[in-house]
Amino acid sequence: MVDERSRKIKHKAGELWGNFGLPFIFIIVLIVFSVQSPIFVSWRNLLSTMGFSSYIAIGAIGMTFIIMTGNFDISIGSMLALVAVLGSSFIPRIGGVLGVISTIILAALLGLINGLFVTKLRIPAFITTLGMLFIFRALAFIYTDNYPVYIDNRFWLFIGNGKIFNIPFPIFITAVCYIAAYLVLRRSPLGRYVVAVGTNSRAAELSGINVDNIKIFAFTFAGFFVGIAAVINTATMGAANPGLLGQNYEFQVITAVVLGGTLLGGGNGSLGGALIAAMIITFLGNGMGLLQVGSYWQLIVTGLVMIIAVSLNKLKFYLLGQGDL
């Protein structure tokens, strides 16, 4: 009886954490920084930081799909840099609109290449993408000869800096991306296949799902969103710098996905969680910046947040009785 009761209490705690844990952390982060810094709490700062969080939030969509299918992609930071310098260098020839589209298509192609390598050659994903991380970055350097590409196209710049009713445009893009991804994941057969492959890839294969294709789709999908993030990020900076773009991006995005409640190694995931986690990470960075915490401390904090996020996730699934500690 006692066992049964403690199991129920644990389950309840796990559920509570799963549903309200992240919003709770987010609110605490907001309160702590509001008390410390008056600038932080201004509408202007809150809205613009929301806008900046789209950079991590949009990347986290595709990474959620990849991690759900039991893989990783740690090349996305370099991928972002490579497609950004390519796409922005096309602007003088093909214009802003086509430049944006080509950036996104190129990113999806690079994601496709990652997916093909991982599935067809049966190489573990993270080490393939580690190789790609260096290859993409090197190609970005080689293509630009280590000079930044300046962007003066109005359409491209609007995507990152524009405002509608005083709300930064990236927030709208993030909303659209998340709604679309939610529909794909929860309202389409494709999404059900992704979940099936993630929870039990052998069973999925036996029930006639082409597991390789689903994994390739996840990588391509992730590339697509990296392309969008690349446009937003370079637009806010006004230039595409092959060395600086996307540094540590994979780290921030994977942290967001894991903190958002997607289990490493595959299984069901949470897009909403990833969105809130991306905002937590961005607001943490913004707050620490405003409080003038040194960038070295910020490095240490990002590392710690990642480890804590994974541990909390493990704890949640343990409490829910779906895994051991």
Binding site: I123, G131, F134
Partner: protein, 333 residues
């Protein structure tokens, strides 16, 4: 029938090729590289050129010994580049007060603590090795910057340079260090029970745990040893530069992983190859030398190492597929 026959022949050829590659692949690569470099540079066949190439190869090679253990045990360590930097700055900061020998011991000990924390997080907290060591890399790099406030710290004791640039019996000291470590790790992996346990854990962790192995201890030991090798390289490179650099060795982890896998250590765990790592290290160093001859910028090195890694992974993937099939069907080649 016809198709089956063709397929069997192809499979047989593939298995033979892969077996052959396992034995002599890396040597063929080195010979091809040597021929190419000998044509490209008249200075190649001089003792100091060859010594300098091998010395460059020891950095990756030494850490690859540790990485071989980690991969054999079914894990990974992506924090080695940060550990090299941490060793470097601790060394530079403590040498004036402690003297050279104590400072070296202290910096190596600190690095081993990083490995210990890695091991504890992976085993006790069940955090994925990739995530643990990636986070540790960020944290350790942050600490290295923090304790030096981002500055580089020059070392005034020039006798310290001996470790990285000196020669014993005409052979550069780093090469001697690598040979000594090779012997130690070889004995450890193939002659001691710990080595057998490491392979056992890598092949089948739960079976090892059931048969009474202390998996936690074995894994923690592995990560301590990886950090140990990384700190040795930290000492060597700091000695060459005579300066403690918090941003030392960016991208070094990729080089080490490439060397380990090119050297024939299987990613699926359970099978390590130390000698292969030594030669793979030299091969990578030859690529660097060749690229320096051409005079291209450093990002071509990134590209080259990335491509070599993908090639090595490709071979490893083929090996996993064909040799497994061959083993099941009992094909001998």
């Amino acid at each position: 029938m016809e198709r089956d026959h063709h397929y069997a022949i192809r499979e047989y050829t593939m298995v033979r090729f892969l077996k052959l590659y396992e034995k002599i692949g890396i040597f063929i690569l080195i010979i091809l590289g040597s021929v190419f470099l000998a044509i490209a540079s008249p200075n190649f066949f001089r003792a100091d050129t060859i010594f300098s190439i091998i010395t460059q190869g020891t950095y990756g090679g030494i850490v690859a010994f540790g990485m071989v253990l980690a991969i054999t045990s079914g894990g990974f360590d992506l924090s080695v580049d940060a550990v090299v930097a941490l060793t470097s700055v601790i060394l530079a900061m403590t040498i004036p007060d402690l003297g050279i020998p104590l400072a070296i011991i202290l910096s190596i000990l600190f690095s081993c603590v990083v490995g210990f924390i890695n091991g504890v997080l992976i085993t006790k907290f069940g955090v994925n090795p990739l995530i643990t060591t990636l986070s540790m890399a960020t944290i350790v790099r942050g600490v290295a910057f923090l304790i030096t406030r981002g500055r580089q710290i020059p070392i005034s004791q020039s006798e310290f340079m001996f470790i990285g640039t000196g020669k014993l019996w005409g052979i550069p000291v780093p090469i001697i260090i690598m040979v000594v470590l090779f012997v130690i790790f070889y004995l450890l992996l193939y002659q001691t029970s710990l080595g057998r346990y490491i392979s056992a854990v890598g092949s089948n962790e739960s079976a090892s745990a059931i048969s009474g192995l202390n998996v936690t201890f074995i894994k923690i030991m592995v990560y301590v040893l990886v950090a140990f090798t990384a700190s040795i390289v930290g000492v060597i490179r700091t000695s060459q530069a005579l300066i403690g650099i918090p941003s030392m060795a960016p991208g070094f982890t990729l080089t080490v992983l490439t060397i380990t896998i090119l050297g024939g250590t299987s990613l699926s765990g359970g099978r390590g190859n130390l000698l292969g790592a030594v030669f793979a290290g030299i091969f990578i160093s030859m690529i660097y030398y060749g690229l320096n001859l051409i005079g291209v910028q450093y990002f071509y090195q990134m590209l080259a190492v990335g491509l070599v890694l993908i090639f090595a992974l490709f071979i490893d993937g083929l090996r996993g597929r064909y040799l497994e099939v061959a083993r099941i069907r009992g094909i001998k080649a």
